[in-house]
Amino acid sequence: MRYIPHTEEDVEQMLDAIGVSGLDALFANIPAKHRLAGDLALPLAASEQEVLAELSELAERNANTTTHAWFLGAGAYAHFIPSAVDAVVSRSEFYTAYTPYQAEISQGTLQAIFEWQTMVCGLTGLDVANASMYDGASAAAEAALMAMRVTRRSRVLLARGLHPHYRDVVRTYLGGLRAEVVDAPLGEDGRTADVAPLVDDATACVVVQHPNFFGSLEDLEAASAASRARGALLVVVVNEPLSLALLRPPGELGADVVCGEAQSFGVPLGIGGPHLGFLATRTRFVRQMPGRLVGATVDSEGRRGFVLTLATREQHIRRERATSNICTNQGLCLLMATVYLALLGRRGLRRLAEVNLAKAEYARARVRETAGLSLPLEAPTFNEFAVAVPGSAEAALARARDDGIVGGLDLSTHAPELGSAVLVCTTELASRQQIDRLVGALAGGRR
């Protein structure tokens, strides 16, 4: 067994030292009736060569951004990842380390987290960010729970523009608590309709996504005013954080919590995970925050160093009174994002966002001018938008597929009111020529 060093001599010697007769004796405390009689019904060990072959064959059977032109986003975005990102996260000092509880021997991980926290604060316009959540969906759920703790209220308003899977997860998380979850409808133009009428004194928070699931930019100031008026918090969920390089930070617009998914920042699509949930808020709510926090301090000689801090919020200290049950988080994905943002930098990220916007605007223009296609929603967008197609969305996407294109998400289940529509995302990976091909395929025109 290549992963296990023990030779038979080693085993003998160790059994002697322990003072037992054989390996079975080590399991003497397990009542005989609880021991597995035979072998597990699993195959025998496979060699490295065979395992690689088997997994390569399985991988071959998944379409991906290297085999198809890609316009599918809807919460997981196909962005280019510089090689340096994987080079750094492949440093085994990072990926084979545990949570940095022992600060003196974990400064590398700790400093990187502190850098991430700083970046998230800058992007969101808030004061404090944690060291990751499982994903955007659970981050949204944790934000709702946090708002309930802060306001001591139990009514949560979820915008229809929040990613349907996120909505599901929030409901699941709140399922065990006496909480009321209410929908805030989507307006004609693809933005959340005025929420003011729906917010009441029992409302803990209003949760809106920005840009929302349909790609529309929300009116955060309105949502914030409505929430504030009734003492509710405004939770803004972002699952395409690249947009924050151009958009005014939600924190500036009245958001009390900004959370979501940061996969766009150098984390591979990876069939949906591991991705990178994030959560930021205002200083005054820090003690109600879920998740780990890294803080700066000094060592016994006064030199700056970093440690996990404010742990009294966490399960390993507070147990049933903790702000969350999260323990293992998405540390390595946080590192990917930190390296990614460091590489792009202030200007690089902003330029990348401009490029994504330009691609989308080009695609929207082509859609507008193409017979059979239209834009069902008028709200402004960033790099994603709905396209109404002739016939069924399924058929339209099939046409695209025949041309080697994964054309977007079929919206018919998520938003029947839009008729046959496809949610299309254009990132820097989409070339003009590919966009033209997509438009042609969706319209059903011959190429």
């Binding site: 395992v51 800058g122 500036e252 699509l269 069939i271 200290i317 049950n325 792009l344 020529q433």
Partner: protein, 506 residues
């Protein structure tokens, strides 16, 4: 280093660390480590397409560096970490085993790394097959009937499990309010129960460190929805009365949740599903070798008995049968499902690694893994028994727990021992957990460690015990060899500095 009494201890020698400031302190306007193709569509000014006031001004909090500076920054940071690839990392309860390089390679195949969770199932067959097979493998290993891979980590698995238990009771029109949890349990257990609106009732362990039927009997009632039990428990002891305990809970309509964090000790030896456990989580990042990544990501699949199957999270991967043709599909139609826990399928990248691991070990390898993990823990216990107090001195499973009892008069604490171990070139064990052991040192070597490696580690701990008596100050002021000496955690909490700011003193 000559004259430095602190050099060349344990398996270390003198050395130095490269200093490196924060990214923001290295930043210079105008630098970048990135490049983009020429834009092949018309330029668009956000102001022209967005409502007034939507566009942000400056982008604070992002640095500007060249690729070489970024790579050096993080390469230097990495050298400040301890890691499994550099040495023994005996964190109790964390199962810091070797993370095979093969797993890292296969997880990076474009068919996995560059595929999208929402692409049509017809274009995702390879992954769906892998997920389906992994579920079956975990079910077989654990003796459960069904498995969901969705939870992103153990704690989310606990949450899912408790939610299914709640759904099960509600389905029968019962509103149970309590969850029983032994005092040795990990913090996530009570936290998960509470997050589900349950009141947590702590059950005391017996003299011998394990749970006794009487204790459960006493606390059990129709109010109790479930008992959460970790087996082997966090003292590394097998819960010998598990079956009887399960009977007691079941007798009053309660269910038994098994925390599978310590499953490594039981692989191929004993199956939770055969011991009366109704639902349990797995930590792929512990038992199944996926890397801990400096805090994550992990993966916490949950296995259930058939009685809980209707409540599994959606979607569920199903193998097509009969005239549906071959292949796999995703089912959403489970009216009683607790719903979704994750935006997609969970931490899919970890499924791939765990699958590669299970295929690599095979049934015989998995059993060998448990045997060697238990052998290693017992060997360490034998080596350390004379130097350290062993609160529950009996054969252990995959880990052993020591206490600082014998150091009482030295003024040296468990924390000091831990820090001094760093000077010897070892990451410290888990400390001050489980809570019921005063100054606990919880040591889990895992099967990855060789006999010689264990001996060197034991020698270090024994040497430190001696130092504690002969030169306590040396231990109390440890670590001495690291780039930073002991860090002031109190200050960090009292005056939180949680991000860098241009002016910030930090």
């Amino acid at each position: 280093m000559s004259g430095d009494h602190r050099a060349d201890v344990g398996n270390t020698a003198g050395g130095f660390a490269y200093e490196e400031p924060l990214l923001f302190e290295r930043s210079r306007p105008g630098r970048t480590g990135y490049s983009l193709p020429e834009l092949d569509v018309p330029e668009v000014a956000p102001d022209d397409v967005w409502p007034a006031g939507s566009v942000r001004g400056d982008l604070p909090g992002l640095p500007e560096l060249s690729e070489v500076d970024v790579v050096r920054h993080f390469t230097r940071l990495s050298t400040w970490n301890a890691s499994v690839d550099l040495g023994l990392y005996p964190l109790g309860s964390c199962t810091m085993k070797y993370n095979p390089k093969l797993n890292e390679q296969v997880a990076r195949l474009p068919g996995f790394a560059a595929a999208h969770p929402l692409q049509p199932t017809a274009l995702l067959q390879g992954f769906l097959q892998l997920a389906f097979q992994l579920e079956q493998q975990l079910a077989e290993i654990s003796g459960m009937d069904r498995v969901t891979l969705q939870p992103a980590a153990g704690a989310q698995g606990e949450l899912a499990g408790i939610m299914m238990i709640r759904a099960y009771h509600e389905q029968r029109g019962e509103r149970r309010t309590r969850v029983l949890i032994p005092d040795t349990a990990h913090g996530t257990n009570p936290a998960s129960a509470a997050l589900n609106g349950y009141d947590v009732v702590a059950i005391p362990s017996g003299e011998d460190g394990i749970l006794h039927p009487e204790a459960v009997e006493a606390a059990m009632s129709p109010e109790v929805a479930a008992l959460m039990i970790t087996n082997p428990n966090t003292l590394g002891l097998f819960e010998e009365h598990i079956a009887r305990i399960a009977e007691i809970v079941h007798a009053q309509g309660g269910l038994v949740y098994g925390d599978g964090a310590n499953l490594n000790a039981l692989l191929g030896i004993s199956r939770p599903g055969d011991l009366g456990i109704d639902v349990m989580h797995f930590n792929l990042h512990k038992t199944f070798s996926t890397p801990h990544g400096g805090g994550g990501p992990g993966s916490g699949p949950v296995g259930v008995k058939n009685l809980l199957a209707p409540y599994l999270p959606v979607p569920v991967v199903r193998k097509l049968a009969g005239d549906e043709g071959d292949g796999y599909t995703l089912d959403y139609e489970f009216p009683q499902s607790i719903g979704r826990l994750h935006a997609s399928f969970g931490n899919a990248g970890m499924f791939i690694r765990a699958y590669a691991y299970i295929r690599s070990l095979g049934r015989e390898g998995l059993r060998r893994c448990a045997e060697m993990a238990v052998l290693n823990a017992n060997y360490l216990l034998a080596r350390l028994r004379d130097a350290y107090h062993v609160p529950y001195d009996r054969p252990v499973m995959h880990e052993c727990v020591l206490s600082d009892h014998r150091l009482a008069n030295t003024g040296v604490t468990t924390m000091d021992l831990a820090k001094r171990l760093i000077d010897y070139g070892y990451h410290p064990p888990t400390i001050y957990f489980p809570l019921i052991v005063h100054g606990a040192l919880m040591i889990e070597p895992t099967e990855s460690e060789s006999l010689e490696g264990l001996d060197r580690f034991a020698d270090a701990l024994i040497a430190i015990a001696q130092e504690a008596h002969e030169n306590p100050e040396l231990v109390r002021s440890a670590p001495h060899h690291t780039r930073r000496s002991r860090l002031d955690e109190t200050r960090a909490a009292r005056q939180p500095v949680l991000r860098w700011q241009p002016d910030s003193s930090s």
